[in-house]
Structures are given as structure tokens and as C-alpha cells.
Symmetry: C2
Subunit: 207 residues, 2 copies
């Protein structure tokens, strides 16, 4: 049986990796903002694929919370430090609650509890969320997002890029696309189709 990626992540050993509290908090904030969007998208599009990303991020959030607790304890040297760190830990705890709640939302997919009302929630909006992969044939490889004019040509916004086990949240125009990048995008359906053709190598440029 193939072990899903998020399950693997869960059983990876937790190691204390030195980094900064600031970096940890920043990633937690980014995950919070992304995971809520993804969780709703998963149920609205009945997508196990997006649900899997949610579970992956949920596990990642647990790890970040563990790391930030360790760091906070190491950093507090007196009462004043400790009080300020308590604020940081409260934010971290809230971030974990948010990611757990996002995990609860996608659970209804496994329980087959989806209700026909759900897809209708988005009918009125033209925007959809989709996951797309940069194929080895794509002319977008090695090009910067800004240079490809993705947003102006297609109206699509890239929420995040997953590159192997790393995430780039809210990528700026100077980020170069690489083969195998997984893009989580939001935008109008037609624009999404256009972008997908570019990423699959079916067209050379966006028009």
C-alpha cells in the first residue's frame, strides 16, 4: 500500500533544527492563510488531492509549533523575556488551532459527508482554486513569474508553490519556475486553462 505523503511526514522523526523564531512564525502565518483557502477548496471541488495538501500542511504546522516552543524556552532568560515569549507561543498555538480546524474541514471528504449544497457555494463566484504541475516540456521552466505575465494575461494568482518538500508562499514576480513545481492557483476558470496549457508545454507563451 502506498503511504500518503502526509502520513510519511507524520512519522518522520522530529528533530530540533536551529532556525529563528521569526522564520518559524512567518511560515506559520503563511500556512494559516493558505490552509484555510485550501480546506474550503478541497470540499467545494470534492478534491482529495487538495485535501492531501491540507493534511500535509497540518502536520508541518505541528512540527513548527514544537520547534517554536523549544526556541522560546531557550530564548527566555528573565521574566520580561518570558512574558513576551508567552505572546509568541499564544500566536503559535492559535496557528495550530487554525490548521487543525482546516484538517477537520477536509475530514468530511473521507467520511463521505459531503452535501450537495457545497459545490453550489462557489457557483456564483468565477474564481476557482487549482493545483497544477510544471511539466518537463513546459517553456515556463527557468522563466520568472513576472516575465511570464501570468497575472496580467490570465488573471490567475499563484498562492503558493510547492517545490519538493519546500513551499514558497505568495511568490513574487522574481521567482523562477522549475520543472516539477506544483502551483496552487486561484483565478477564473478560462485563465486557469490557459496557464495549464503553458505549464504542460501545449503553448509556448500566454496571450
Amino acid at each position: 500500500m502506498k503511504v500518503p505523503r502526509w502520513k510519511k511526514a507524520e512519522f518522520e522523526e522530529i528533530e530540533y533544527q536551529p532556525t529563528s523564531i521569526r522564520e518559524l512564525l512567518k511560515e506559520m502565518k503563511n500556512i494559516c492563510e493558505l490552509i484555510v483557502d485550501l480546506a474550503y477548496s478541497a470540499i467545494l471541488f470534492n478534491s482529495q488531492e487538495i485535501a492531501e495538501e491540507v493534511r500535509y500542511l497540518e502536520v508541518r504546522m505541528d512540527k513548527l509549533n514544537y520547534q517554536i516552543r523549544i526556541m522560546a524556552m531557550l530564548a527566555a532568560r528573565n521574566i520580561e523575556d518570558a512574558e513576551k515569549m508567552a505572546g509568541i507561543l499564544q500566536i503559535a498555538q492559535a496557528a495550530e488551532k487554525i490548521s487543525n480546524a482546516a484538517g477537520d474541514i477536509v475530514k468530511i471528504l473521507s467520511y463521505k459527508l459531503t452535501h450537495p449544497i457545497l459545490p453550489r457555494l462557489i457557483k456564483e463566484s468565477d474564481e476557482i482554486i487549482r493545483k497544477m504541475t510544471v511539466s518537463h516540456e513546459s517553456k515556463a521552466i527557468g522563466k520568472k513569474i513576472g516575465e511570464l505575465r501570468i497575472s496580467s494575461e490570465t488573471g490567475v494568482r499563484i498562492l503558493a508553490i510547492r517545490r519538493g518538500s519546500k513551499w514558497i508562499y505568495g511568490p513574487k514576480g522574481e521567482v523562477e519556475l522549475k520543472e516539477g513545481d506544483i502551483l496552487i492557483c486561484v483565478g477564473p476558470e478560462e485563465g486557469m486553462e490557459e496557464l495549464n496549457k503553458l505549464l504542460k508545454g501545449e503553448v509556448e507563451v500566454l496571450e
Copy 2:
């Protein structure tokens, strides 16, 4: 003592107002997406003003959750219905958890637990979140968002508009601005300044 608006909301009587489960869920989804952004913005900018919006939305979410429970029970006529409604209630419950967690985040402002690390979380990004009001002198009154070319001229995106006690989430181009509208916006600081001048009536058009 002036009672804050969210406190008032908390003590308003909860009434069962007939609406549709779909409308309720949609508003809950919109609140979830907005409240996480707002909570982080409140602590990053140390803004009691934005924190107050978070508390207001948290109370609103409680009420929506109450209403949706009532509606779900009224709608379920057999086991199959009830099972599907259980999924809806699980999503609603998760939405409330998310809004409560957002409320936990802004609590550190009242406890004065903010850490000097927090403002530095956003230094690297050019985007800020701000709350702006349409003054009675503004030339934007009665104009459509699209017509004002807000996004193309300033790079600012309107996340939501609060009009009295109503919210318009992710307003489209055809929404007309009214006097007293409160806009929650995200974008670059310079663009924000430009837009604010228009809303205060200091300039007549965006350029």
C-alpha cells in the same frame, strides 16, 4: 464608558432569522478567510482598530453557527439527510474554531504581550493591510470600484467592505462605494496613500 461595537453585538439578542444554509455557510467561509488575515495584521501593525474588527467577526461567527445548527435540525427529515447535515455542521464548527483562534491571536494586544519580533515579520513584504473610511467629501461616493480603477492605479485589493453592520466580502468591480463605507484593503503602502486621498476627498481621481 463607550461600549465597543463587538461587545454590543455580543449582547444583542440572538434571533432565529430564516435564511438558507447555503448563505450561512458562504458567509462563514468568507469570514474565515478574512479573519485570519485581519488577526495577523492586527498584531503586526499593533492595531487595536483591526483587532476590534476581528472580535466583531468572531461574535458574528458564533451567531451564524447558532443559526446553522437550528437550520440543519429543521432540514433533516431522515437518516440520510441527517448524515449529510452532520458534514455541514462539522464545517461550521471548524469555521468557529478558526474564528476563535483568530480571536486568541488578537488577545495578545490586550495582554500587552506583543514581542518586538512581530513587526519585523512583515518588513520583507511591501504589502500592508489598512482600514479606510469613505468620507462624505470623497468623489468616490456613488462610483463603482471598477470604474475607479483602484486595483490598476494603486495595486490595492479591497478584501472587504463594512457598510453599517453588513459586510461585503471580496467586492467585485460593479459594487458602488457609499459614504461611510469602511474598506479593509491590502496592498503596497504608496498605493494605499493614494487611495486614502481619494477616499478622504483630497484628490478627485486616482492617477
